[in-house]
């Protein structure tokens, strides 16, 4: 192919590319209103109770930054990251951070939960998930799984696995508090 032909080819490709970009512009906001356990979507709603019977509904916390941590007492990385979560909760709760630690009670021994809360001195709500519905809604495959939800109720970050360091928690929490 001669140089002139190549340049015409390049220009045609770039014009076609620019046209494709314009035609395929997204004017609908593809994830708006859809609920799914993935960054960019509205966090799937749930209503759960603490061992003391106090109820929490996720959707009622809109306006706060929410950290949802799915965990179990038998899970070593879950145990390892709890002190860091508690420390971050103490540091940021006055700025609007809510932590919901959802114990996967249907995969755990419920008798272990209250001693665990005492042992780690947890002051944020620990919720009992006894049916598996939240695990299904969040398509749970690994523990711990942590969802950082912004003030609009949209999941901003997902961290699968652990343990999360205090520094990683701080970076994610400061993002959802903005």
């Amino acid at each position: 192919m001669q140089k002139n032909q190549r340049i015409i080819f390049y220009i045609l490709i770039l014009i076609a590319g620019a046209a494709w970009i314009t035609i395929s512009a997204d004017t609908t906001n593809a994830t708006a209103g859809t609920s799914a356990p993935q960054a960019g979507f509205t966090a799937p709603d749930f209503t759960l109770k603490t061992p003391d019977g106090e109820g929490y509904r996720l959707s009622e916390l809109k306006g706060n930054a929410v950290l949802v941590n799915l965990w179990a007492t038998w899970c070593p990385p879950c145990r390892a990251e709890m002190p860091a979560i508690e420390k971050m909760y103490q540091e940021y709760k006055d700025q609007g951070l809510v932590v919901l630690a959802v114990n996967m009670t249907y995969q755990d021994d419920p008798a272990n939960v209250s001693p665990f809360i005492q042992e780690y001195g947890l002051t944020f709500p620990v919720l009992l998930e006894e049916t598996g519905n939240v695990g299904t809604a969040y398509q749970l495959r690994s523990l711990p799984s942590t969802y950082f939800i912004n003030r609009a109720g949209i999941i901003q970050e997902v961290v699968i696995g652990g343990p999360m360091s205090e520094a990683l928690l701080r970076t994610r929490i400061e993002q959802i508090l903005q």
Binding site: Y10, I21, S24, Q38, L168, R170
Partner: protein, 239 residues
């Protein structure tokens, strides 16, 4: 089948696919490297240092971008959690390291890039598959019969589009027995990949949007394509 695949390689196991692609890609690239005038040892060294720089650079870049958090908790820098990682910083560190290594050991840039093209093309397949496993880079909602159920909707299987495009590009690279000039193989691979991204990004449901709904990913792919055309002419003129 898709559910089985996604269960098998669900995060964080989806990274196994990237490791597999790296291993297979480097093994194959090594077998064909001498065709491009690059020795096996040089290719192994350049990729070894590049991969180390990728891992360390990704971590360092993330830490630097979030320095106040890590000053308060320095041990967090060494945390085993892979989320402490900035992919752009990782790629930049790898490129800088490869360029420095290449200059110090007299490696020719374009020949080295050609030798690595098979690796890049296999890595692209691995990236597409890891997106499929993790459910990231997902598509818009659709009614097409080949849509997949993902994130509570039927969506364009953009990860499959991406993987299929990468497979086709790999096939094209694989069958190139002659390279007219050093750099042309790599630039053609890069151009095809940018064009594929420009096309498939149109079906993505997670695009970062800029003015009037234009997709940032497509704009970057378009600009990359334009730069590749310039480099293409530069290579043809230089020889």
């Amino acid at each position: 089948m898709l559910t089985l695949f996604r269960n098998l390689f669900s995060p964080p196991r989806h990274m196994i696919l990237l490791l597999l692609a790296t291993w297979i890609g480097l093994t194959i690239a090594e077998k064909h490297t001498e065709r491009h005038g690059v020795g096996k040892d040089d290719l192994n060294n350049v990729t070894y240092y590049g991969l180390i720089a990728f891992v360390i650079g990704g971590r360092v870049s993330f830490v630097l971008q979030n320095l106040p958090a890590f000053i308060k908790n320095p041990p967090g820098i060494l945390s085993i959690n892979p989320d402490i990682f900035d992919p752009f910083g990782a790629v930049a560190a790898a490129i800088i390291t490869i360029v420095i290594y290449g200059q110090r050991h007299g490696l020719l840039l374009w020949n080295t890039l050609d030798a690595l093209t098979l690796y890049f093309s296999i890595l692209s397949i691995g990236i597409g598959l890891s997106h499929l496993a993790a459910g990231t880079a997902f598509g818009m909602e659709t009614n097409v019969i080949w849509g997949i159920d993902l994130w509570n909707a039927t969506r364009h299987p953009t990860q499959i589009y991406e993987t299929a495009a990468s497979l086709l590009i790999f096939g094209w690279v694989w069958f190139q027995k002659q390279n007219p000039r050093p750099g042309i193989l790599f630039l053609t691979y890069a151009g095809l990949t940018a064009a594929a991204q420009l096309f498939t990004q149109a079906f993505r449901g997670d695009s970062t949007l800029i003015i009037n709904g234009l997709r940032q990913g497509q704009i970057i792919a378009w600009a990359t394509l334009a730069i590749i055309f310039v480099l293409f002419e530069y290579r043809l003129k230089e020889e």
